[in-house]
């Protein structure tokens, strides 16, 4: 049998009928269903599972849970499915699992870096980076390159994740975090009131500490009580059970984030189901029943493989039938850990001795051990471990905890396993997430949750209640109280608490750091945080250097910054700091834990919001037509808008020239559906427009359209568009595509918060209308063919709108123009958009009607000097800067939004940047959009910049390139030359001109 440490136990937690084969560091091993990778490795007698980060020391498995700092692996066999850094103690074994250590070169057993660590280790105290590698300055990047080579634990996958993830929202009365005895009791008691209960647990099955306990409940095995209770809960409609589900974060107003691992125990990649699911639970009441973590003791060479937590040893024995060694020495400050010696003894393997730091104990467990004939050294500590890749023995010496000294000669004991217990630390992490500061409880020598504004309860080990009977009764009581707070039940538990008898325990000792006969600075390394190689000496050094706040100590030494987030070492580190500074632990400070409780997969946090669902893509009703006609698309906000319509073999520039010429010479068609449209109704609609637009609206007649500009209260342009008067009290406002939602919110803001007395309603109708703009000298001819209304220039004037039937569809047609050509904007109900579009295309066929996209639209409007808000403006531009004073009402009674700001000092400067046209000296050269402008060509850096190019194109219609730009005082500088120093080192010259390049008199749009 290869599983040398697997005993013939009776645990039901593993299934001996299902043998699983797995590989670790290239070697094959076997384990059983129900094993974790850690328990399987220990079963196979694997000692060294990794190398430490800084000193490259061999490391073994220390814990059986989320505290594990050493057994951090790379799991997975392909570059797509590999997972960096899962803990072996929390990784369920599956057939074919492939794991490897994350550090160690060439391998963990023979590690060259370890030699370096031994030699250079003394040169690497905390903060050594800060003190060296500074000279010469130029070499830091090279030093850093070398440092970075040693960085990191596991490696990122190199290929895309084949798995998918999702999320679910839940609401409940009582959310219980932790499915150990306290949590299960609380769930049962809360659920019996009819409250909606959710209970989650990070392990693969409920039970928590009971899964590895031997203490009977109601005369039965603890696992039988768990089974019965879970069955009871499963039968209740109002209860949801979430095993394999880690609460990673507790957020404000009782939101609990849970990551359920759905397939990780089945294999590397499952097609059938999402790999992980994040549950977001909004709970009326939260019960934290997260229990407690055992604390290791800090002693010399306490990182040699074979040094473990006492309770972890018990867990491997009782839950997995694995005895992780042959000869045990147990060091403890409390009675509770004696259980481990008993468990070990019962497997038939040898307990060499128990080293108890206390002077004496008369507790039940101690007496039981005494009866078993196991040696107990009271008043002693294990001051140093011997061995390198496995414990070979320990030095045990009498100690004085009060003055931190060794008081007598050390005695050597041969052994291969050292279990230690310094007591228990409540798992307070989640209660800290919402800003609550933990408080020190002297009695249990641990932090417990502090005051909070959340609707939160805690019970069991988290409250420092450890005796099982007390844990259960506390759980039942807390469940009932929480349910009552959620409005269910009367606050008392009606059922009967199960019977269990707890051993009487003597007081434990608050001891964290075992003294050595040498000073800490000279003693063998005593590790506090294994993952970051933080030692007791390192912490004391940090204190000596003046890092006294616990936060400074943590940051200077990296204590608690590993992937275990200080679960194993923080309290010990604080205790050592306190001792070194002569303070108490609470004086030293508390430790604030942040989410994630344990590391959480990025994919799970993103859920299904990836790839095409990362952000909604919005489409117009004619999108399919655009696709079928080869359009390239531009992202405008969330919309996909046709950018241009290339024909086979065309370059983009060729397409644009074709689209522009067709429009100017015959007729083009644009899908303008994405423009925002707001239906404004009410007797004060006109007044409202007067207040939010810069221009006047009092006299706009029914059937007429007007262009308007909106400013923010700081006087800067933020949107523009055409608004038409539909009726005396009704207008339809158009906004920019990107500004639609913002403008509606803006109008509502002013109406609801400032001018509620105005009778006006706003409704978005953006999606209701499909809008197609036909533009060009033949546009009227196209429209005439399919429109039931006379659209001749006498009957349908520029800036009029009419109701008509177009291609059999009821339509609103606006005679407005953004191209400067004769132009009609046809609006039909969007369900008819596609059909109307097709009808217009058919009617236009004889005129070679040409679909064009946003780029051609931009060129054509720029030729006319029409601005695009957001391209030609940037939030620092007023209407006056745009030379658009004509759009500012001079006689408006109300001080409309933005007006007041124009009289500020900065707005009155005459050298403000102003909108102008630019003609490059070389008429074929298209200035880069974003090019900076200077007046003086020959300047040294830094140059005095006076503006920049906002829009720039080659005009096929005019036969030369042109641009729009903002230039300081530009309006009065027309005809002058400016220079544009480009990023390729060349400087080009251009002439300031009017921004209206094409048809300056506007004849074409008026025909």
């Amino acid at each position: 049998m290869s599983q040398v440490n697997r005993i013939a136990g009776s645990s039901k937690r593993i299934n001996r009928n299902r043998t699983l084969t797995f590989s670790f560091n290239g070697k094959e091993y076997q384990g059983f269903e129900g094993d974790t990778v850690a328990s399987a490795l220990l079963a196979n007698g694997v000692d060294v599972v990794g190398r430490s980060f800084k000193y490259s020391r061999p490391r073994g498995i220390i814990t059986s849970d989320s505290q594990e700092p050493n057994a951090i692996f790379q799991v997975g066999s392909t570059q797509a499915t590999t997972i960096p850094n899962p803990r072996a103690t929390q990784t369920d074994l599956y057939q074919g699992l492939t794991a490897s250590s994350t550090n160690g070169w060439p391998n963990v057993d023979f590690d060259l870096m370890g030699t370096v660590g031994k030699l250079g280790g003394s040169m690497m105290p905390p903060g050594f980076y800060y003190k060296t590698f500074m000279f010469p300055q130029s070499l830091w990047m090279s030093y850093e390159h070398l440092i970075r080579k040693g960085a990191g634990l596991g490696a990122s996958p190199q290929q895309n994740d084949p798995d998918s993830y999702d999320k679910m929202h839940h609401h409940c009365d009582v959310m219980i975090v932790g499915g150990g005895p306290a949590g299960l009791a609380a769930a049962l008691s809360a659920a019996q009131t009819g409250a909606r209960v959710i209970i989650s647990d990070e392990q693969n099955e409920f039970g928590g500490s009971l899964l590895c306990s031997t203490q009977s409940i109601d005369g039965q095995l603890p696992s039988q009580w768990v089974e019965k209770t879970v069955a009871q809960l499963s039968d209740m409609d109002n209860v949801m059970l979430l095993p394999r589900s880690t609460v990673f974060g507790y957020y404000d107003h009782n939101l609990v984030g849970i990551n359920e691992r759905r397939t990780d125990h089945l294999g590397e990649h499952q097609l059938q189901s999402t790999r992980q699911r994040v549950h977001k639970v909004r709970a009326k009441q939260v019960i934290l029943a997260t229990g407690a973590h055992e604390r290791p003791l800090v002693y010399g060479n306490n990182d040699v493989p074979g040094c473990m937590l006492a309770n972890a040893v018990s867990t491997y024995i009782n839950r997995y039938d694995v005895v992780p060694g042959k000869q045990l020495v147990l060091m403890t400050t409390n009675d509770n850990a004696y259980k481990t010696a008993i468990d070990w003894h019962q497997t038939g393997r040898k307990v060499v001795a128990i080293v108890d730091t206390r002077a004496a104990s008369n507790g039940d467990l101690v007496n039981k051990v005494k009866k078993l004939g196991i040696d107990i050294f009271f008043g002693h500590g294990v001051i140093e471990v011997k061995g390198s890749k496995r414990v070979k023995g320990v030095d045990v010496a009498p100690i004085n905890a009060t003055n931190h000294s060794v008081t007598g000669p050390a005695k050597h004991l041969a052994c291969d396993t050292v279990a230690s217990s310094g007591g228990w630390s409540p798992v307070i992490h989640l209660s800290s997430h919402t800003g609550s500061r933990p408080v020190w409880n002297e009695e249990i020598a641990g932090f417990v949750p502090g005051a909070t504004v959340q609707q939160q309860h805690s019970c069991g080990g988290l409250e420092g209640i450890y005796a099982l009977s007390n844990v259960l009764s506390n759980g039942f009581a807390t469940g009932a109280i929480a349910a009552q707070a959620a409005g269910k039940g009367d606050g008392s538990y009606v059922g009967k608490a199960p019977k269990t008898s707890d051993p009487q325990e003597d007081a434990s000792m608050a001891l964290f750091h075992i003294p050595h006969s040498k000073k800490t600075s000279r003693a063998p390394k005593q590790f506090v945080d294994y993952q970051n190689d933080v030692t007791a000496a390192g912490i004391e050094l940090a204190n000596r250097e003046g890092f006294e706040s616990i936060e400074h100590v943590k940051r200077y030494t990296a204590l608690g910054f590993g992937t275990d987030q200080g679960k194993l070492g923080n309290i010990n580190g604080m205790a050592i700091t306190a001792k070194s500074l002569g303070k108490t632990i609470p004086e030293t400070g508390t430790t604030i834990f942040r989410p994630m409780y344990t590391p959480t997969t990025f994919g799970a946090l993103a859920g299904a919001d990836v790839k095409h669902l990362f952000d909604p893509a919005r489409f117009s009703a004619m999108h399919k037509w655009h696709l079928e006609h080869g359009a390239e698309f531009e992202d405008v906000g969330q919309w996909k808008r046709p950018w241009y319509f290339p024909q086979p073999g065309e370059t983009m520039q060729q397409s644009l020239e074709r689209e522009c010429l067709a429009t100017r010479n015959s007729v083009g068609i644009l899908d303008a559906s994405t423009l925002g449209k707001i239906d404004i109704q009410g007797k004060d609609a006109r007044e409202f427009l007067n207040r939010v637009y810069t221009n006047p609206w009092s006299k706009l007649g029914v059937g007429k359209c007007r262009y308007g500009v909106m400013c923010k209260e700081d006087g800067m342009v933020f949107d523009d568009g055409v608004t038409a008067c539909l009726d005396e009290n009704r207008f339809i406002m158009t906004t920019t595509t990107g500004g639609a939602a913002g403008v509606l919110q803006w109008l509502e803001l002013w109406h609801q918060t400032e001018w509620p007395e105005l009778e006006v309603y706003f409704s978005t109708v953006t999606d209701h209308w499909s809008t197609m703009t036909i533009s060009g000298p033949n546009s009227r001819k196209v429209l005439e063919k399919i429109c039931d209304v006379d659209v001749s220039s006498d009957n349908f004037k520029y800036m009029d709108w009419i109701e008509a039937t177009v291609a059999g569809v009821k339509a609103r047609v606006f005679r407005i123009s953004f191209t400067g050509e004769l132009s009609f904007e046809i609006n039909v109900q969007a369900n008819y958009g596609m059909q109307t579009w097709k009808a217009v295309m058919a009617a236009g066929e004889e005129f070679n009607i040409t679909p064009y996209g946003t780029e051609t639209m931009h060129i054509l409007r720029a030729e006319k000097g029409f601005i695009i808000v957001g391209q030609d403006t940037d939030g620092s531009v007023t209407p006056q800067d745009l030379d658009m004073d004509w759009v500012v009402g001079k006689k408006k009674e109300f001080s409309f939004i933005g007006k007041r700001s124009w009289t500020r000092f900065d707005n009155k400067r005459d050298d403000r940047k102003q909108m102008v046209g630019l003609k490059p000296k070389d008429p074929t050269f298209v200035l880069p959009e974003g090019a900076q402008i200077v007046f003086e060509k020959n300047q040294s850096i830094p140059m005095k910049m006076v503006g920049h190019v906002t829009s720039s194109y080659y005009s096929a219609c005019m036969g030369y390139s042109f641009a729009l730009a903002v230039v300081k005082g530009g309006i009065s500088r027309k005809g002058e030359s400016v220079f544009l120093p480009l990023s390729d080192g060349t400087t080009v010259e251009a002439e300031i001109c009017s921004p209206v390049f094409y048809d300056p008199k506007g004849d074409r749009q008026h025909v």
């Binding site: 997972i83 960096p84 003394s122 040169m123 980076y129 800060y130 003190k131 060296t132 500074m134 830091w140 990047m141 850093e144 970075r148 080579k149 960085a151 634990l153 596991g154 490696a155 990122s156 996958p157 190199q158 895309n160 994740d161 798995d163 974060g249 957020y251 404000d252 977001k280 000073k519 000596r544 250097e545 003046g546 706040s549 936060e551 400074h552 987030q565 942040r594 994630m596 590391p599 959480t600 990025f602 946090l605 990836v610 790839k611 990362f614 952000d615 893509a617 405008v636 957001g870 940037d874 700001s901 500020r904 900065d906 707005n907 880069p928 959009e929 900076q932 850096i941 830094p942 920049h948």
Partner: protein
Amino acid sequence: MQQYSGFGLLKHSLSYHENWQRVWSNPTPKKHYDVVIIGGGGHGLATAYYLAKEHGITNIAVIEKGYLGGGNTARNTTIVRSNYLWDEASHLYEHSLKLWEGLAQELNYNLMFSQRGVLNLGHTLQDMRDIERRVNANRLNGIDGEVLTTAQVQEMVPILDCSTNARYPVMGASWQARAGTARHDAVAWGFARAADALGVDLLQQTEVTGIRRKDGAVEGVETNRGFISAGKVACVAAGNSSVIAKMVGMELPLESHPLQAMVSEPLKPILDTVVMSNHVHGYVSQSDKGDLVIGAGIDGYTGYGQRGSFNVVEHTIAAIIEMFPIFSRVRLNRAWGGIVDTCPDACPIISKTHIKGLYFNCGWGTGGFKATPGAGHVFAHTIAKDEPHPLAKPFSIDRFSSGELIDEHGAAGVAH
């Protein structure tokens, strides 16, 4: 001040590191200081250092209610760059970047300032116009910058998804090679150690509860350790600036928001540069320890809780996966929040006030870390001379009345 060097490290290792000096002392407050600086973060410590070093004012106290460098200095994502849009801002940040470049040697403290370059991705045509404009402005201001094509971006960061399948495909980027990251805690500690050596008193666990004034001038500060008289009081309290201002009945054009950041578990080196995207709203770099250091946008509500809402974390991680799909199986280790004081124009306030002897350096929003030495330098000048440093002048609080705002929302973008 004990000099640090590789040789020193070797020497101390022979004596088991038992003889290192304290990096700073722990003084009891004096009755009077020429200048009291409220706030012992990077900016406050840098201000003290430059006051002492360049202006000969050494009777200074830095008053910190918690521990040095414990606020935003300890909570940011450590990015340093100067590629801002407007002249005023880019000159200020470039001034700072130049100081960064020799700072480790000057302070004799390795700040691990790593000029690994920053990419700002463009995903839309307007993004690319803005990038072109900003890079051109930077170059003419003497600040390094390049516009990269998608292919160049892909070559520089092979693991970035530059395909057209992305929801918002990468269309290019701006690149500042001299930009990078630094070790945030070290910046505070380095300035603190150097200031302490010049005679500055660093008073930790000391909370200002009031500011005493007489005849329109400051007299000193009330603290939990008693009244401390001061010739000048300089407030460098970042997210808490409004709270301090209220002590003298002032309001500031500030809102304090939670700003969240997060790190993955440590990974083997995979990302050499800083990659930022305003459009998909996230940015990431990899620290020397191997963590992916990830930043988010601010939470929309105001908050002093040093924590924000979970949906910001969710969105930010989705954005990182949008850019780097291979990170999907990587795991998030820790998320936290700072309190950032944001100005309406995304630019700071470095200013005198209507109260004689009272100065404010605040409003850095998401951009404070990179400015640490530069802000300290120009603020020290402003305090010492009682008139703004030329680079600080545009950042006076008067700009909100005159309208001379410097709108850096585009370049400030998501937090950084």
